[in-house]
């Protein structure tokens, strides 16, 4: 039950994090990519909503696992979507 509830809560948050990381304006600017329309507020709500639901349910163990997995996923996505040096240089040259 703990596993199921933790993973069910983490999945939407991780997807929201992936979206936020992919569309992040500062990251895209640094990579020389065009920034799309900002829908960050919705993604942030999707990110945090499962945590709020777990608090409302009093599922503290699942809340800690959700927070830990989301933090680790955020770090991994940032690592995976790192801006390569060449793109950074070309962005500077393009300006």
């Amino acid at each position: 039950m703990t596993l199921l509830l933790s993973l069910s809560a983490t999945l939407p948050s991780v997807l929201a994090l992936l979206w936020l990381a992919w569309r992040d304006p500062k990251r895209r600017r640094t990579a020389g990519l065009a920034s799309g329309p900002a829908v960050r507020r919705l993604a942030v709500i999707v990110l945090l909503l499962p945590g709020a639901a777990l608090i409302a349910l009093g599922a503290w163990a699942e809340l800690l696992i959700w927070a830990g997995l989301s933090s680790a996923a955020g770090w991994l996505f940032t690592q995976g979507l790192a801006v390569p040096g060449t793109a950074h240089r070309s962005a500077h040259h393009g300006r």
Binding site: L3, S6, D24, W60, L64, I65, A67, G68, A82
Partner: protein
């Protein structure tokens, strides 16, 4: 402000920076060993499995061997007793007794045994203080070594605990000050520039630190609490409120002060008490503690694991001679309180063991990130100052300990298996191997100018050694995967697999770093030729 000549100011700055980095390196040791300690139980099961998996944490019939053990201990030395399963499910049982020596100094005398849960045979009896017991422990040696390094850096009590407590405070200060000084923390949450320069190193440190901020603070706070509570908190409280009587202070705090009755009385059947505790909650027994075994005022505390989805387990108290249930005990005192609940939360929040392997896996990942933040922070700090002669040794020390420490820990585990094959004492061999590898890593970083190359060599060696550990385990008489799968003991294949994956990851990282360096060198040569 005191006005100082420029030379003195520079010297003071160097002392300030040196002390901060030295403290940071010790903190890194505590964090890295803490990451390994998340799986201390599983490491014990992996290193010393039994041929048969126990049927339960406290199997039926455990009363008889525990009673036999108790009868072999002098009644005057049965003040406190505790037992819990570890290292393949062996029951670790220990009597603890405090006494004053001829000079009036308080000394502890402990007696411990292991009990095989399948045969109920008593094995490995040892006596002495905590350190003597740890040194004579052959079934949980690797876990003990890591835990001792994490908890007190192998420094004698209370100094080791005070030191790790201070390091926990330093980690909290680093987390809070890092949060305050990085102004664009949220804006740069997803921005990581991957180049081979200081900017990328700064990005990598800030990004990892930001994502790990909350947990770093949590782990540092709870870790400091554990270090200071016994080494500083209880003695100070005892001095202030209990006229220096630490035992009285603890009894009042724990809320279990028995009315003293030293008349002899036989302890009731433990199996019956454990069976009763199981009917009261939907979880298994975590550990048992008994005060004054064999006396009329004996009390038995049975602490349960947290039930599914909860953070805290319950403790049930039984009357020793009658075996009757007495009351459910909060973590502190006799009635539930906010303080008691917060105190109870310290352990699950620090150990991350409240939901089995799932929560341990999360804590492992977050601990790994914390270690990365500590190391990347020190590397950033020292690399920025590498041109100054006073900072060069520290730059090399950071490189040496950064990759040398994980290698030294793997070497200590390998040394344990080799000592088992040679039938030598385990703890001294592990300690010597650990220190020798760490010293060699530091010496290599000191002598070779290219610290990056030494770091890669250390990572390569660690990868090779991790790949060799499963083989060494087998050579030391450990069982194969088939036998472990057949008996449902999955810690052995799981940790063997994790070591193989980690070893291959190290080798891959070295290969990629070497290829990137070669590429950069070729590009530079091409630029020179073209220019």
């Amino acid at each position: 402000m005191i006005r100082l000549p420029q030379r003195e100011t520079k010297s003071l700055l160097a002392i300030h920076g040196w002390s901060a980095v030295c403290l940071g390196l010790l903190l890194y040791v505590v964090i890295v060993t803490g990451v390994a300690c998340v799986f201390a139980d599983e490491i014990g099961d992996w290193a010393s499995p039994l041929p048969e998996a126990p049927t339960a944490r406290f199997p039926s019939g455990i009363d008889a061997p525990l009673r036999t053990f108790a009868e072999s201990v002098d009644p005057s030395q049965r003040d406190a007793f505790f037992a819990f399963p570890r290292a393949g499910g062996r029951m670790y049982a220990q009597f603890h007794h405090d006494a004053r020596d001829a000079s009036g100094k308080m000394v502890e005398h402990d007696i411990a045994v292991d009990i095989d849960p399948a045969t109920m045979q008593i094995e490995n009896r040892r006596e002495g203080d905590d350190d003597a017991l740890a040194a004579a422990d052959r079934t949980n040696a690797i876990s003990n070594f890591f835990i001792n390094l994490h908890v007190r850096l192998h420094v004698p009590e209370p100094w080791g605990l005070l030191l790790t407590g201070v390091l926990g405070l330093a980690m909290m200060v680093a987390a809070v000050s890092g949060f305050l000084i990085h102004r664009h923390l949220i804006r740069e949450l997803f921005t990581l520039r991957r180049r081979r320069d200081l900017l990328s190193a700064r990005d990598a440190h800030v990004v990892a630190g930001t994502w790990n901020l909350l947990f770093s603070f949590l782990l540092a706070f709870t870790g400091s609490f554990f270090s200071f509570a016994s080494s500083f908190g209880v003695p100070v409280m005892a001095m202030v409120a209990f006229n220096g009587d630490q035992e009285k202070a603890l009894e009042t705090m724990v809320g279990n002060p028995p009315a003293s009755d030293p008349r002899p009385a036989t302890l009731a059947n433990l199996d019956a008490m454990l069976a009763d505790a199981r009917t009261r909650t939907h979880s298994e027994i975590y550990y048992i503690g008994i005060e004054h075994w064999g006396r009329a005022d004996a009390r038995v505390s049975v602490t349960m694991l947290p039930p599914e989805g909860e953070l805290l387990g319950t403790t049930y108290v039984y009357d020793g001679p009658s075996g009757g249930f007495q009351y459910e005990k909060p973590a502190l005192g006799r009635v539930p309180s906010v303080g008691g609940a917060l105190y109870g939360l310290m352990a699950p929040l620090h150990f991350g063991n409240f939901a089995g392997v799932l929560s341990k896996g999360v804590w492992f990942a977050l601990g790994f990130a914390a270690a990365y933040v500590a190391l990347s922070g020190m590397r950033l700090w020292t690399t920025r100052r590498a041109a100054e002669p006073g900072w060069r040794p520290l730059t090399r020390a950071v490189a040496g300990i950064g990759h040398g420490l994980p290698l030294a820990l793997t070497a200590a585990a390998a040394a344990c298996f080799i000592a088992q094959i040679a039938d030598a004492e385990l703890e001294p061999v592990m300690m010597r191997s650990f220190l020798a590898v760490l010293a060699l890593a530091l010496a290599a970083c000191w002598m070779v100018r290219d610290a990056e190359r030494v770091s890669r060599a250390l990572l390569l060696l660690n990868g090779v050694l991790m790949l060799a550990l499963p083989a060494l385990r087998l050579l030391a008489g450990g069982p194969g995967w088939g036998a472990m799968f057949a008996t449902g003991q999955f810690a052995v294949p799981a940790i063997d697999s994790a070591l193989i994956i980690a070893g291959l990851t190290c080798l891959l990282a070295v290969w990629r770093a070497t290829a990137a360096e070669r590429g950069a060198r070729q590009a530079l040569r091409f630029e020179q030729v073209r220019g």
